[in-house]
């Protein structure tokens, strides 16, 4: 990560559906407080939430961090869970490994990573069997 800028960190606990999504809401509130463009906040919040829910549903102990810089916002979500064996497959819309429990809650439609890819200006995924998942999402801040 680059020096400078504002850094925010939130921990994510796997299977903790009571708190799931709270970190993303804090990120959203923080960005609204700074006063970024609504569309940009929306894209970042959606990516943060999809990534956070992925960790809660499939991952291990995780952490979400956001580096806010005047030109770019970098969101990183990493966990030490089982990882994604086939990233190409996980990026396909509709591909899902969600449990019936996740589906009952309305999740698990296989749109998480594809939606992140759609909303982030760039997405980098590092993972593999037993290697956890490390997502890096970048968002360009356009000056009006």
């Amino acid at each position: 990560m680059k020096p400078g800028g504002l850094l925010k960190k939130y921990s994510i606990k796997p299977r903790d559906f009571v708190k799931a999504g709270e970190g993303s809401i804090r990120i959203q509130k923080f960005l609204k407080f700074i006063g970024f463009d609504a569309g940009l906040i929306r894209r970042i919040s959606i990516c943060a939430y999809e990534a956070e829910m992925n960790v809660v549903m499939h991952g291990g102990d995780g952490e979400m961090s956001m580096l806010v810089d005047p030109k770019e916002i970098v969101l990183e979500v990493a966990d030490d869970g089982p990882g994604i064996p086939d990233i190409g497959l996980a990026l396909q819309e509709g591909y899902s490994t969600a449990s019936p429990e996740h589906r009952e809650m309305g999740f698990g439609a296989g749109m998480g990573l594809p939606n992140i890819k759609k909303n982030a200006d760039s997405l980098d995924i590092h993972s593999g069997n037993g290697q956890g998942v490390h997502l890096t999402m970048c968002f360009e801040v356009k000056t009006r």
């Binding site: 559906f17 009571v18 929306r42 939430y49 309305g106 439609a109 939606n115 909303n119």
Partner: protein
């Protein structure tokens, strides 16, 4: 994003049309919903067109509230008379998200709102289907 040829409805009008009970956001009945959307899939709520719209859903858990906050919807309406849990009400109040419950089904609720001019989140009307339809 504006709805097509639609009419914006105030939450107070929506509440009346759907005979809805309010659980959070009593102070926000004057705000307007610019369109409507209905889904039981969280991913549909996060597709990027739901800002400022009213969300109808049959799901009734605390994640609906968090998803709705992230999606920045104007209000959440639980259909088929589902009662929100206390946790949902607390979360909705904390995030200042209006939360209602209507006795109508999803289909009827959507129909009643559409009949009053509220439109969906489509940016432009989809092209009409051209007959023959293959049957």
């Amino acid at each position: 994003m504006t709805a097509i040829e639609g009419k914006q409805l105030k939450l107070s009008e929506i509440k009346e049309l759907l005979h809805a009970k309010i659980f959070a956001g009593e102070d926000k009945l004057d705000i307007t919903a610019k369109a409507g959307t209905a889904s039981d899939l969280m991913s549909d709520m996060l597709t990027g067109k739901t800002g400022g719209v009213v969300l109808l859903t049959g799901l009734c858990n605390v994640q609906v509230i968090r998803t709705a906050v992230i999606a920045d919807v104007a209000a959440v309406i639980l259909v088929r008379g589902k009662r929100p849990t206390q946790e949902m009400i607390d979360q909705a109040r904390e995030h200042r998200l209006p939360l209602f419950s209507t006795p109508f089904t999803m289909f009827t609720s959507c129909g009643r709102l559409c009949a009053k001019g509220l439109r969906g989140v489509e940016e432009k009307p989809p092209a009409p289907a051209v007959p023959p339809y293959g049957c």
